[in-house]
């Protein structure tokens, strides 16, 4: 047997880095930031940075596990309702005189339970996550609204609510971002640099083959839904403290924002494709764009149209590029067809 050797990669590093959708999103983010910095009054203020980051914190937190869930080919539409439910639980406990640490912990556990329910129905009962989480979207929100009724709990201790608006020195970066950075590092390591992460991609690309390779598909999905529930609850706590107000209808509709950002960041809704840096850039892109447009006096309707178009175009871009190269290819092909081709008899005489 001749020992063959194989090159590790077909393309050099720079090409591999440039072809992904992530590269496009990151580039767009940089362009918008630079444009805003030089052309939009007040965009360069550290205050703007603070607001963008604080505004997007909930989306950033939930987008991390949501990316992993979507990479496995599933989806979780119940996240905003988990935010609402954990907020309601937190509020209810504080209202009844429970201390903040215990109340926050209980809210987190609520998120874990929500995730377990989703995960159990999807992973172990084998139901489609789109349908399951439309159901739990209504269920968790319903419980939140049921628990709090008409009341909004607002008596949170000031030293806790201040945590959400405190910034690091004069950088304008909210202190709470430290928590996010740590979590992001953990999730990136988990998805991109661990056997568990490879399993997540395998599940998204081919669940059956993953099962045959010894990936524990059910447990993996369960873990991811639990993570999503937990981080949604964390986002719920952040949200509650930031607004100093626990309400059953907190963060209604946030799930679509999260999913839009994840998809914008280059994750395929069919699973198996997408990277976390792209997703983080996608979230920040939406935040920066909205902030820039608002500063320019653009109304919410136009911002919606622009975000919608961006989402459609970014997803279409892959198809459009393929289409363009197809047209180029068929032009070249037309030339080739002209060439005389060998007849069967001439070949068979060999």
């Amino acid at each position: 047997m001749s020992e063959r050797t194989y090159p590790s990669y077909t393309h050099p590093l720079w090409r591999r880095l440039l072809i992904g959708r992530e590269a496009g999103v990151i580039a767009l983010l940089v362009i918008i930031w630079l444009y805003g910095y030089s052309n939009i009054p007040y965009f360069g203020d550290t205050l703007t940075l603070t607001y963008i980051l604080v505004d997007m914190t909930t989306v950033l937190l939930i987008a991390l596990p949501m990316t992993l869930v979507i990479v496995t080919g599933e989806i979780d539409l119940s996240v905003a309702s988990v935010v609402g439910l954990s907020s309601a639980v937190l509020g209810l406990l504080v209202q009844h005189g429970v201390g903040m640490p215990l109340a926050c912990l209980t809210a987190l556990v609520t998120g874990v339970i929500c995730g377990v329910v989703n995960g159990f129905l999807v992973a172990y009962v084998g139901l489609p996550s789109l349908a399951v989480t439309i159901g739990t979207l209504a269920l968790y929100r319903g419980i939140a609204v049921g628990l709090l009724g008409t009341t909004a709990v607002t008596d949170f201790p000031a030293n806790w609510t201040e945590l959400t608006s405190r910034v690091l020195g004069s950088s304008g970066i909210p202190t709470f971002m430290m928590v996010f950075v740590v979590l992001a590092a953990i999730f990136i390591a988990l998805l991109h640099f661990s056997p568990f992460g490879r399993g997540i991609y395998d599940i998204g690309l081919s669940p059956e083959a993953a099962e045959f390779t010894g990936v524990n598909v059910q447990r993996t999905k369960m873990i991811l839904f639990v993570l999503t529930g937990t981080l949604s609850a964390l986002a719920g706590i952040f949200y509650t403290l930031r607004f100093g107000s626990a309400r059953g209808d907190n963060a209604t509709g946030l799930e679509l924002q999260v999913i839009a950002a994840v998809l914008l960041g280059g994750v395929s809704i069919f699973g198996g494709r997408g990277k976390l840096p792209g997703v983080i850039a996608g979230v920040l892109l939406i935040g920066a764009l909205s902030s820039a447009l608002r500063l320019e006096g653009v109304t919410v309707n136009v911002i919606n149209i622009i975000i919608g178009l961006l989402l459609v175009l970014s997803v279409l871009s892959t198809s459009l590029l393929a289409w363009v190269s197809d047209i180029r290819g068929s032009r070249a092909r037309r030339h080739r067809v002209q060439r005389p081709t060998p007849t069967p008899s001439s070949v068979s005489s060999q």
Partner: protein, 351 residues
């Protein structure tokens, strides 16, 4: 039972069914998913009616019982057609909003416009938006969930820009049109009749037209449909056009029923439409389900909302119950499907 024993031995699969046609039809009906949802719906109505007979018996109660689900009925039927092709249309709420606003604007500009024309124009506008969705999804080869999420933002943005912060109120629309909102024939509201006719027609089309069956084929296995030579793209576009047209129609119905339109009409209703289809037995990954089932599902969701307070459950818990219902429905589907699969395998074993 005409086969000889040796013949039966060679049988690979189920023998062709020997049941007479009528018995089979009855059996199919009794086992159907639609029936089980319909029974739950009846139970809900009955429970509410026992607590408060007005819920059904009083003329307003009867009218509202039928009118309240009308809009969702239309959306659920359209959503069904799209889901059957293994897609989903999240933009129907925004299409509804656009069409409702368009209707208001039309009547403000042309107060003499015949109401029928408003229905036609609303549906046509919806169909046009559906066409956009369909073309992008089918020819762009991109997932419908993403595209319609995008167009949901876009279409809603257009309504917002157009409507701004204003509101079209009942006094700005002709009474002829608004009367339709409550008009009744033999105590049955006209809008409900329109919706039912359409739902029945869509369901019948799906069952008995070539193109209707092709929608099921496309959803059941899109790649096989391509190899089969089915016009997959045309069918997907068609499904989105139908869904858009029904959402457009629902917008006109919205204007007639509520008499007031602002830029937020129909916000968030798309999840309810999907939920209605799922509760009504439409498989979220395409290939099976009926428009009739979805319509019954829509009826159930909306009726539960108004019936719960009657049986003493607070407003605030309604949504939680709706969620539990959706989950119960899909779990039920799973149990039924597992039972059927087991039967098919057993049948093969026995042969």
């Amino acid at each position: 039972m005409t086969h000889t024993t040796t013949d039966e031995g060679t049988a690979l699969l189920l023998e062709p069914s020997a049941l007479p046609a009528r018995t089979r039809l009855l059996k199919t009906l009794l086992r159907s998913r639609e029936l089980s949802v319909a029974i739950v719906l009846l139970i809900v109505v009955a429970a509410a009616a026992i607590k408060s007979p007005d819920f059904v018996v009083s003329s307003d109660g009867w009218r509202d019982l039928l009118l309240t689900p009308t809009i969702l009925l239309l959306l659920a039927a359209g959503q069904t057609v799209v889901i059957i092709t293994r897609n989903v249309d999240l933009s129907v709420g925004s299409i509804l909003g656009l069409s409702a606003w368009l209707t208001g604007e039309l009547f403000m500009a042309h107060p003499g416009l015949p109401p029928v024309l408003a229905f036609v124009i609303g549906s046509a506008a919806g169909a046009g938006l559906g066409l956009i969705n369909g073309v992008v999804v089918a020819y762009g080869k991109v997932p419908a969930l993403v595209i319609t999420l995008g167009t949901q933002y876009i279409f809603r943005g257009i309504v917002l820009t157009w409507a701004g912060s204003s509101l079209i109120s009942a006094s700005q629309m002709p009474d002829r049109f608004l009367k339709l909102g409550t008009a009744q024939i033999f105590t049955i509201p006209v809008l409900f009749i329109i919706a039912m006719v359409i739902v029945v027609a869509v369901g019948y089309y799906l069952q008995t037209a070539r193109s209707g069956r092709e929608l099921y084929a496309v959803g059941s296995d899109p790649e096989a449909a391509v190899l089969y030579g089915l016009p997959v793209n045309r069918r997907v576009v068609g499904a989105f056009i139908l869904s858009g047209a029904l959402a457009g129609l629902a917008g006109v119905v919205f204007a007639a029923r509520y008499g007031t339109v602002n830029s937020s009409a129909g916000t968030g209703i798309e999840f309810q439409a999907v939920a209605a289809a799922v509760v009504g037995g439409v498989a979220i990954f395409g290939g099976s389900g009926t428009a009739w089932g979805a319509a019954i599902g829509a009826g159930l969701l909306m009726t539960i909302n108004s019936a719960l307070p009657m049986v003493g459950i607070s407003d605030f818990w309604q949504q939680a119950l709706v969620g539990a219902l959706i989950i119960a429905a899909i779990v039920l589907d799973r149990v039924l499907a597992a039972r059927q699969a087991r039967k098919l395998i057993e049948a093969r074993d026995e042969s």
